[in-house]
Amino acid sequence: MKKNGLALLVIIFFLLSFRQAGKVVFQFPDIFPAPTYDFTKNPLDSNKIELGRLLFYDAILSKDNSISCSTCHSPFDAFAHNDHQLSHGIHDSIGNRNAPPLFNLAWHSSFMWDGAINHLDMQALAPISSTTEMGDNIVNVVNKLQNDSFYRSKFYTVYGDSIVTGEKVLKVLSQFQLTLVSANSKYDQVIRGEGDFTDQELKGYKLFQKNCNSCHQEPLFSTYELAQNFISVDSSLNDYGNGAISKLKEDSLLFKIPSLRNLEYSFPYMHDGRFFELDSVLNHYTSKETKLRFKKAGYQKINLSESNKVDLISFLFTLNDKEFVFDEKHRFPRELLMKWKGE
């Protein structure tokens, strides 16, 4: 009887471990707040993350198989579109915004520069459907994946049936993107007690805390709320940010506050990518006009001398996370190359 009980236990344990095989625990540093993404509605699973990664890098999501998510969100640019003011998409069309970097997405409360998207799961619908990005629609994308034997078998592995749905596509894309956690910059190491700032970086850190922290709050370096950046409206773009979405006057010119992590990899800056250098961004925020606008809007004052700016930038560069940018787990999956070769 005892023996039987033991055998039963072994079987139960085996079954449980089998069922749990793909389960992944979302990991993030102690100093980060609790994520806003509700993982109970889309529990991480290694197979789903991998399927999301394949889709992220596969141009099958675009109308003519020319543009993938990674076209404008390259891992080496902290998943932004380095060197392009405005990102371009299908048929060489130019969009009206600078593709933002992708990391620490589990803490974002809205998506896109104008905050038009309320949930990471629904974000991918926007680029898939945009005529200047992927030029397709979710119905067509689901059909293409359904007719592709490689993806049919992938969906079968993940879900136990090979039926592709919009919900599944969106949720696996979320899964991969949720794993893009950037938390190992020099700043993080210093906070963990594994290193020290230089004198200049420390001076810069203090300047940051005094001048920038209310919007670009530690440790994510953004509250991810919407705010005005007080750059003048580009008359060729007429981008009024959230106001165009909410149609409320008070939301006019509100844009999502970007994180200051990984700035070295994700230039140019601002929603229209008008500044290629951090110097230019700081010069904008300390200009007479901006200061006046800050005062009028009741925003916290920014006061930086020329030497302060140099110190501040030296601190900002401690937020670059090289390990994240070169992490193989986030890179182009070689399996996709095999698939393309096989076709």
């Binding site: 509700d38 509605k41 889309n42 038009a116 998207i117 309320n118 949930h119 990471l120 799961d121 629904m122 619908l125 926007a126 898939i128 459907s129 945009s130 629609n137 979710i138 119905v139 689901v142 749905t165 919009g166 919900e167 599944k168 969106l170 949720k171 979320s174 979405i245 149609k247």
Partner: protein, 208 residues
């Protein structure tokens, strides 16, 4: 014998599951069929939180989310999983999708974004879609919006006047078009017009 007949008749009300069917009417005797005329080329809407209220105030849940599509006759009827024994006083449903669902990520089934009832460039379900041609002019009304001041989901309560197991929820489609299209013939994002149009539509539902 008479008593037996009464018993038989009354019990027959309790045997079968209840059916709720949705109809759009051109007039008293003509139901809308998409394709019959150019007046309406598309009519789709979400019905959520569909419930019966019984005569003693009990709420019986019938369906959580349902997508009515007049191009798909199967979508027009909802059947209760089991017969509701008590007399039904009223039918309750929401026209559209509640705000919580709108902010809770991707869902499958009738809520899957492939159903064509989700905006892509901004988040949110389209609660009600009607498209067609009236007086040689196209109209296209996509009504939705989940947050204030453009929250457009509407509660509908329809009193049940006679005892039956077949409920026909009816929309007088000509009246609706005549009321809405002159206000604006193109609505494709959340707006105050979308809210007032949604309110109007909700008030037109009746039981036949």
């Amino acid at each position: 014998m008479r008593l037996f007949l009464i018993l038989l008749l009354s019990s027959s009300f309790h045997l079968a599951a209840q059916h709720i069917s949705f109809a759009a009417e051109i007039n008293d005797s003509t139901a809308l069929v998409i394709g019959d005329s150019k007046l309406v080329s598309k009519l789709t809407f979400y019905v959520s939180d569909l419930q019966f209220e019984t005569i003693d105030g009990e709420i019986v849940k019938v369906a959580a989310y349902h997508l009515i599509d007049f191009k798909d006759s199967n979508s027009l009827t909802i059947e209760t999983t089991k017969a509701v024994e008590k007399e039904i006083k009223s039918i309750h449903f929401k026209l559209g999708i509640d705000s919580t669902t709108n902010v809770s990520g991707a869902f499958g089934g009738v809520l899957d974004p492939t159903k064509g009832m989700y905006w892509s460039w901004q988040s949110g379900y389209i609660n009600f879609k009607i498209e067609g041609i009236v007086e040689k002019e196209k109209y296209i009304l996509h009504l939705g919006g989940y947050s204030s001041p453009f929250k457009s989901v509407q509660q509908v309560i329809l009193p049940v006047m006679k005892r039956t197991d077949e409920f026909r929820v009816t929309l007088p489609i000509i009246e609706i078009i005549e009321k809405l299209v002159p206000i604006d013939n193109t609505v494709m994002s959340p707006s105050l017009n979308a809210v007032s149009m949604s309110k109007s539509i909700a008030s037109y539902f009746y039981l036949k």
